[in-house]
Symmetry: C2
Subunit: 349 residues, 2 copies
C-alpha cells in the first residue's frame, strides 16, 4: 500500500502530521511506501530530531503551501509547486494509491478534481463526513464540496454514501435518507423533491426524507444533502457538541462538591468525549474522484492522521471506487432507461 | 391585553394548555381577556375539574382540530370549524391582540397568512426561534415557514429578526448574520450571496456570513436562512442536545460510582438543562404577519404555554409589528432607490 501525505497546511505544523504517519507505519496497515510531501528541510529536520527512520518513507519536496485563507482555484494557479498539487500528482502518476491532506478543503477538492478527474458517470465530488452518535454513526454528504447541486448530484451522493457506509463502516444495509424539513414524502425544496423521486427508482435502501431529529436517534446511516446544507449542519453539530462540553466543564468546576462529582463520574464523560472525538475518523473522504483522496481535519493531531491513513488503506483495499463506479453506472442506466419525466433530470449538464 | 389561545392540537391535550393559561393569568402579564378556543365540552370539564374560575376567561367553541398529520391548506379547507381558524379569526376581528397555538405549524402559518395577511411590504412570514447557548441566545429565522426563498425574503428576515432580538430579547444592537458555508464574503449559494449584497445596503448591524461554528460561540444574535435550512438546523440542534443528555444519563447510571458523581454534580447538569429547555421560550413568533401570532411547541407543557403568553404580551406591548413595518419600509425604499442591479431583486413576485 502506497500513500501520499501532504504534511503541510494543517493547523499544528508538519511535525504533528509526520508523527501521525509514524504511528501508522508502526501499526502497519499494509503500508509499503509513504510519501511525505512538503518542505523537505522541515520534514528531514523533524525526522532527524525524532530519530525516526523507516525505509518505507519517501520525501517529496514542495516549495509552497496552499494556506487555509487562500482562495482555492486562484491559489492553485499562483502556487504551482504547492504540496497539495505535488501530492495529487503522485496519485495521478500511480506512484501512490491514496492521498491524505489536512490543508485547505476547497483547494484539495479543486486540485483533486482538476488533476485526477471524476469517476466516469459522476458529476460532482462529495465530502462524506462520518458523525458518531450514541448507538450508531451516520455519513453526512455532501458536507461541503458542492454548494449548488442538481437532483442527480444528490442521487450520486446517496449511492456513494451507501457504498462507503457498507464497505468501510461495515453497515450491512445502510439506510439512506434525504435530509429535509420533515419526513413526509412531500416535504422538501425543489432540489430534494426531485432527488427523492429519482432515488425511489434506483437500487438503494432508500428510506425517504429524514429530518434533523433523526440524525442522533439511529434512524439513518447516510444523510444526503447539498454541500451548503451539509456544511452548515456539520459545523452546527461540532459547535454545539463543543459548546456543551465546555459549558459542562465550566459548571462542573464551580464548587468542590461538583468537582468531586465530576471526578467520580469522569469515565462517563470520557466515554462520550472519546466517541464524539473527530480524531477517531481522522478525516473525510472525497467521494466521486478517480483516486482515493482523504481530507484530514485541519486541526488533525497525530492520532487523527493515523486514523485517516487507516481508513485510506481500507478504501484502497476494498476498491470502493470500482464499486461506486459500478453502482453509479447501474443507477444512471436505470434512470436513463425510464422514459418518464424524472429521467430527464438524469441528463448531466 | 386580550389573547386567544388555541388549546387544541398540542401533544399533551387541551388540559395542559389550559393549565399554562392558568399560570399566565396568575402571573398576570397585564392580561384582561383570554379566549380558550377549542372543544367547549372538554374545556369546561377541565375548568370545572381543576376548579379554575377566572372572569378574564372566555371559551370559544370549535368543533374540529387540525391534526399534526393534516396537510395544512387541504386540512384548513376541509375543517372549516377548526380551532386554529377560530382563533385566528378572533385576532382578525380585533377581539384578541395576539394568538398562541401549539398545533400543526404549517396549518398555523397558512391560516394566519390567509386570514390576517402579511404586513405591508413583507413578502414572506418567518418563524423566529430563540435558541439558548452558554453565554447568549440567538434567533434563528426562518426556522420552517418558507422552504423556498428569494434574496429579498432573507433581507426581511434579517430586519424582522433584528427587531425581535432588540425589542423582545433586549439585545441592544443585534449582530445579524446570514447562515452560510463559511464566513468569507464570497461563501454561500446563489440565494445567500444575493441577500448578502442587499443586507449590506440597508440600515442593519449586518456582520456578514456566519457559519455553524459561530452559533454556539456567541458570535451572532440573529442567524438568517431560508426555512428549509433553518428547519434542518433547528431540529439537528434539538436532536443532538437531547441525544447528548440521554447519553449522559445512561453513562452516569452505569455503576454506583458514577451515580454518586452524578448526584454530587447534579446542579451543574440541571443548570444546563434548564437553560437549554425549550419551554423557557415556549414557542416561536411568526414574524411578518398583520397580527401577533406565536407557535407554541407541539410538546408544550404548561410552563411553555405560560412563557409563550408572556412573550406574546411583550410583542403586543412593544408594538413590534409597527416597528417591523417601519424598518421594512425604510429598507425597501432604500433598495428601490438604489438603481443598481440588486434593487431588481427587491421587486416582489
Amino acid at each position: 500500500m502506497r500513500i501520499a501525505v501532504d504534511v503541510m497546511g494543517g493547523d499544528h505544523g508538519c511535525e504533528t502530521v509526520i508523527d501521525g504517519v509514524k504511528q501508522a507505519l508502526q501499526a502497519n496497515f499494509g503500508l509499503t511506501e509513504v510519501y511525505l510531501v512538503g518542505d523537505r528541510e522541515r520534514i528531514d529536520a523533524h525526522l532527524a530530531q525524532s530519530r525516526f527512520h523507516d525505509k518505507r518513507l519517501r520525501t517529496v519536496h514542495a516549495s509552497e503551501v496552499l494556506a487555509m485563507e487562500d482562495k482555492p482555484v486562484e491559489g492553485l494557479r499562483r502556487k504551482k509547486d504547492c504540496s497539495v498539487l505535488r501530492a495529487v500528482d503522485l496519485v495521478k502518476e500511480g506512484r501512490a494509491e491514496a492521498l491524505i491532506s489536512p490543508g485547505n478543503t476547497g483547494g484539495l477538492v479543486a486540485a483533486a478534481t482538476i488533476r485526477l478527474r471524476k469517476l466516469p458517470g459522476v458529476d460532482r465530488v462529495g465530502i462524506a463526513t462520518v458523525i458518531p452518535a450514541q448507538d450508531n454513526e451516520f455519513v453526512l454528504l455532501d458536507s461541503g464540496a458542492s454548494v449548488e447541486c442538481r437532483p442527480m448530484h444528490l442521487v450520486h451522493y446517496a449511492i456513494m454514501g451507501s457504498v462507503y457506509a457498507r464497505e468501510i463502516l461495515g453497515c450491512k444495509r445502510p439506510r439512506v435518507g434525504i435530509l429535509s424539513n420533515g419526513t413526509e414524502d412531500n416535504k422538501g425544496n425543489e432540489l430534494t423533491l426531485e432527488a427523492f423521486k429519482l432515488c425511489k427508482q434506483i437500487d438503494l435502501h432508500f428510506i425517504g426524507n429524514v429530518e434533523g431529529y433523526d440524525l442522533f436517534h439511529n434512524r439513518v446511516d447516510v444523510a444526503v444533502c447539498d454541500g451548503f446544507v451539509g456544511n452548515i449542519v456539520l459545523k452546527t453539530i461540532e459547535s454545539l457538541a463543543q459548546g456543551l462540553v465546555d459549558w459542562l466543564k465550566k459548571e462542573l468546576s464551580k464548587n468542590p462538591r461538583r468537582m468531586l462529582g465530576a471526578l467520580l463520574a469522569k469515565n462517563a464523560l470520557r466515554t462520550i468525549k472519546r466517541r464524539m472525538d473527530p480524531d477517531a475518523y481522522g478525516g473525510a473522504p472525497l467521494l466521486g474522484l478517480n483516486g482515493n483522496v482523504m481530507k484530514a481535519h485541519g486541526s488533525s493531531r497525530d492520532r487523527a492522521v493515523m486514523n485517516a491513513m487507516r481508513l485510506s488503506t481500507q478504501a484502497v483495499q476494498n476498491q470502493i471506487n470500482q464499486i461506486i463506479c459500478q453502482e453509479i453506472h447501474r443507477a444512471n442506466d436505470r434512470l436513463s432507461a425510464a422514459s418518464n419525466s424524472p429521467a430527464a433530470a438524469a441528463t448531466p449538464a
